[in-house]
Assembly symmetry: C2
Homo-oligomer: 334 residues x 2
DNA sequence: ACCGATTATCGAAGCGCTTCGACAGAGGCG
DNA sequence: CGCCTCTGTCGAAGCGCTTCGATAATCGGT
C-alpha cells in the first residue's frame, strides 16, 4: 500500500509556484515560461502527482469519461462486439478519456443515471435496433451521443456503421462476376431480424436489390447457429435449387457450420459452391478453405464513433450519418 | 437538451431543510424523522435530482466506480470473457458501483493512472497469466483488487476462479465411469500454454493427475482453432491410438471443429468416441449432439469477485483463494 | 526615459457534495 | 422540577481542482 495521494498544492509548494500555475502548466490554457514549466513538471514527476479525477470533474464540469452502452442481445456475435468495444476504449484514451461500461440490465435508467450524475460527458451506443428504446432518451439528455448502427429514424442522431446494404450487394456482384447465376443469403438468426436489428436487415436489402439488379436468381434466409439446423437448411437449399452455386453468409457463428454442412453433403468449396462471408478477417482466414469475405471494420467504426463524439463535446457540429464503404477480400472460397 | 442539473441545495431549499439533512436522508448515515425524509424524497423526485458524481467522489473519497481490467489476448474465447465482464457489471450495480473498462493497450500504466487519480476505488483483473506483469503493481496500489484467475504466486492476493484442476479431473472420472480406458485432452491453443495462462495449465494438470489416479491411458495436447489443424490432430490421434474412445475438449472455439472432424473421419459420438467439453452451456447445448460438459460458472465467478472486492473496500479481510467447484452435466455425447 | 501593451504569475472564489461538531427540543429519571 | 440523555437538524469546513480577474514584471516604440 502506498502513501496518501499527492495533491496539486503539494506540487505547487515543491516547485515554489502557485496552485493555479501548476494547473495552467498541466492544462496549457495559459502561457507559462519555459523555466517555470520545467520546474513544475519536474516536481510532478518527483512527487508522482496524478490529478484527482473527482476534483477535476467537479471544477471543470468535464469527467473525461464516456459511456459505452453495450447490451448483449441474443444472436449477436460477441467477438465482433468486443472488437468495437476495444477500439472505442483505445480511441477514447487517445483523447484522454476513459470508458464506463454500461450493459443492458439497467435499461435506459443506466444511461439516464450516468448522464444526470455527470459521471460521463457523452455516450457511445452499440447494438442499435431499428426501434431502439434508448433512442428517445438520447434526445432528452444534455450529453452528446453517437450510435454504432442505425435506428429506423436516425434524424437528429449521429450514427456510424459499415454500409451493410452495400456489403450485401458487393457479395452478390462478386458472385455474379464469377459467373454464378443462382445465389442465396444465409443471414442472422431469425430472432435478430424479428428484433429489427438494422445491420441484418440492411444486408438483406442490399443482397435482394443486387440480385434484382444483376438479374440473378436468389433467396435470402435467416440462419440459426447450431450445426443440425444449418445442415438442414443447406440440404434443403441444395435439394430445391439445383442451380444454386453461390452462398453469401452473414453470420459469424454459423459460417463454419455452413462449411461443415457443405462438406457433409459432398459439396466442394469453391468448385461446387462458392462462399462469400461477411465477417471478421480472423474467422475468414481460419476457415477451411479461407473465405472470400467482406470484413466488418470494427476498429475503424469505433474510432470514428469516438472522434465524432469528441467533436460534439467540443461543440462542433458533425454529419449525422457516417457510412463506411465495405471492401471485399478474395480468398480461396470463390 | 435538458436544463442545468439540479443540485443538492436546490433540493434542500425545495424541501425546506438544510443541505446536510438532504445528504443524510440520501446516505442514511444519520437518523432522520419519517416526516422530513418523506419531504426530502418528494423534492428529490419532483426536481429529478441526481447527485453529482464528481462532487460526491471528491467529498467522500469514494468514486463508486471499479475498474475491470480486460486484456484481450490471442486464443482467449471472447464470449466467455464477456460473460465474466457482464456479470461483474451487474454485480457492481447491485452495490451501487459502476465499472470502468480498461484494456490492454495502455498496459499497467492504465491501472496506475486509474487508481492514482481516484477514478476507481478498486480493481477486478481478468485473464490473469501465471507470471502477470500487472501483479507486482497491485501490491503497490492503495486500492484493493481481486483477480479472476490465479497467477503462479497468489500469496497476498485475492483470487477467484473455477477449480480447473478439479474440472479436468472430473471429466476423466466421468469417462472412466463410462468404461473408457484411453482418453485424450484437447486443450487451448499452444500460445495460451506458452504464455502461462493458469486455467489452461491447471486443467491439464488435473487431467493428467486423474488419468494417473484412475489408471487410464491418456495424453494431453494443445489444440489450434482452425478446422484443418483440428482435423489433422484428430486423424493422428485416431490413427496412433486405436484404443482411444474418450475425448476431453477444453477449447470453446475448437469444440465444433472436433465434432466436425470426428464426423469427417466416420466416428460417431458417443458410440465410437465419447466427448466431454469444458465450455459454456449454450455451446454445449447447441452442438450436435449436445455435449456432456463442465460449464464455466462465469456469472458466479464475476459475482464473487465483486463481492470480495466490496468486502475489501469496507475494510474487511477476505479469503485469499476462492475456488468454485465444477459440476458436470451429462448430455448426449458420452 | 516614459507609456501602453504584453507576458507570466498569483490569489481567491467557487464547483456540489460529505461530514463533523454544535445545539435545540423532547423525554426519562430521581 | 432540574438534570441528563437522546434525536433530529443545522451550519460550516473542507475535498482538490479550474478559472477569473488582478497585478507585477518586461518590452518595444518613441
Amino acid at each position: 500500500m502506498s502513501e496518501r495521494a499527492v495533491t496539486i498544492s503539494e506540487v505547487a509548494r515543491h516547485a515554489g509556484v502557485a496552485v493555479s500555475t501548476v494547473s495552467y502548466v498541466l492544462s496549457g490554457k495559459r502561457a507559462i515560461s519555459a523555466d517555470t514549466r520545467r520546474r513544475v513538471l519536474d516536481s510532478v514527476r518527483v512527487l508522482g502527482y496524478h490529478p484527482n479525477a473527482g476534483a477535476r470533474a467537479l471544477a471543470s464540469k468535464r469527467a473525461n469519461v464516456i459511456a459505452l452502452v453495450l447490451p448483449l442481445r441474443a444472436g449477436m456475435h460477441v467477438p465482433v462486439l468486443m472488437q468495437f468495444a476495444t477500439s472505442v476504449v483505445t480511441a477514447a484514451r487517445q483523447y484522454d478519456h476513459d470508458v464506463l461500461l454500461l450493459t443492458a440490465d439497467e435499461g435506459s435508467d443506466g444511461l439516464r443515471r450516468a448522464a444526470a450524475s455527470a459521471l460521463v460527458d457523452g455516450l457511445v451506443l452499440m447494438d442499435v435496433e431499428l426501434h431502439d428504446s434508448r433512442v428517445p432518451l438520447l434526445k432528452d439528455l444534455a450529453e452528446p451521443s453517437v450510435l454504432i448502427g442505425f435506428p429506423a429514424d436516425s434524424a437528429g442522431l449521429t450514427c456510424v456503421d459499415l454500409d451493410f446494404a452495400r456489403a450485401g450487394a458487393l457479395c452478390v456482384e462478386h458472385l455474379a462476376e464469377r459467373g454464378h447465376t443462382e445465389v442465396a443469403l444465409l443471414g442472422a438468426p431469425s430472432v435478430v431480424y424479428d428484433r429489427g436489428t438494422g445491420f441484418a436487415r440492411r444486408t438483406r436489402e442490399g443482397f435482394t436489390a443486387a440480385v434484382a439488379d444483376t438479374g440473378l436468381k436468389g433467396v435470402a434466409l435467416s440462419c440459426e447457429e447450431n450445426f443440425d439446423q444449418v445442415s438442414t437448411v443447406i440440404a434443403e437449399l441444395l435439394d430445391t435449387r439445383p442451380g444454386l452455386s453461390g452462398l453469401v453468409v452473414h453470420n459469424e457463428a454459423a459460417v463454419n457450420h455452413v462449411l461443415g454442412a457443405l462438406r457433409q453433403h459432398g459439396r466442394r468449396v469453391p468448385d461446387d459452391v462458392a462462399v462469400v462471408a461477411i465477417c471478421p478477417d480472423d474467422i475468414a482466414e481460419r476457415s477451411s478453405p479461407p473465405l472470400t469475405s467482406v470484413l466488418i471494420p470494427a476498429e475503424e467504426v469505433g474510432r470514428q464513433a469516438v472522434r465524432l463524439l469528441m467533436e460534439k463535446l467540443e461543440g462542433h457540429t458533425v454529419p449525422e450519418d457516417t457510412l463506411l464503404q465495405p471492401r471485399l477480400t478474395v480468398r480461396d472460397s470463390t
